[in-house]
Amino acid sequence: MAWLIRFYPRRWRARYGAELEQLVHDLRPTASGVGLAADLVKGALVAHVQQRCDVQASDRKAIKRGALIAGILGLGLAAEILLTNVVFPSKTDDDGILVVISYLCIFAVLFLSGMLAARDGAGRTGQVLAGVTAGVTMGALIIATFAVVDNFWLDVVSQQQTKLDGFAHSGAASMRDYINHSLIGPAVFFTVGLGTFGAVLGGLGGLAGRPAPTEMEPRRRP
């Protein structure tokens, strides 16, 4: 009779399987076998439906949290972009270390989004979507920051040597046209690219964050 417990979802069995098997064992001498079997099958079906609903709710929560974490880091990156381009501008392209640190933070957040999603019971889809959402959110915030900084502080930004060289070889009518045109490529990279990285790293984070079973699987009867 207890073999019917194998029809329950794996996660459910890991948590309640041993207890349920013991209960079936305790009830078996007095209860109807057919009644017990029917109730276990019905319970397994309900558990599968319930788990599906729970996963969907966890997926939504994971996606929202991915966007939130990415938003927080995105604001930090926006501040860093503002500081290095406007407040403490440099005419040379000497912020390599800051760029490397920024990318490492971005990748860490993408990984973390998937890992936390898995810890909260989100399915594989939710883990990947949490990473995608985090990536796209950060990408959109970064490119939006560059668009604002480059247009509002054009007089400061246009002093950068890379901008001067690029404008000289671009044939653009003005520095503003050149800068805005040159944002199109990065816009695609930061949104689509980070979204793709988010899918991969969110998925890997999900693998790392899978909760370990807390209970033994029910014993198999010979």
Binding site: Y16, E19, L20, V24, D39, V41, G43, A44, D54
Partner: protein, 103 residues
């Protein structure tokens, strides 16, 4: 015909209101207080949902039998529910008595 109250979650919470119980003790207690027998699948389905909502909590297992107890949130929830049911029942019974049945 007597209507059977078959809401497993309420029956479990009501039963746990007298103290922690494991599955078999719960089924037997519910049989006594409500005259209905919950199957093991039904019991554990409801118990899992109650635990997920923080209305009951598991205690350390004794052998392979794990007792559960009602939480303060669970006690508050079932008290509110039962008070509502009690009000509805009292009003319904009073109205039935006062109803002008033909003949």
């Amino acid at each position: 015909m007597e209507a059977r109250f078959a809401e497993p979650s309420v029956l479990i919470l009501a039963s746990l209101s007298s103290g922690p119980k494991h599955g078999y003790a719960l089924i037997k207690d519910i049989e006594e207080i409500a005259g209905t027998t919950l199957g093991p699948g039904t019991l554990y389905g409801a118990r899992a949902r109650l635990e997920q909502r923080g209305l009951v909590e598991a205690l350390p297992a004794q052998d392979r039998r794990r007792p559960y107890r009602i939480t303060s949130a669970g006690a508050e929830a079932v008290r509110g529910y039962l008070e509502t049911v009690q009000r509805v029942a009292a009003t319904g019974l009073k109205r039935l008595e006062a109803y002008p049945w033909p003949g």
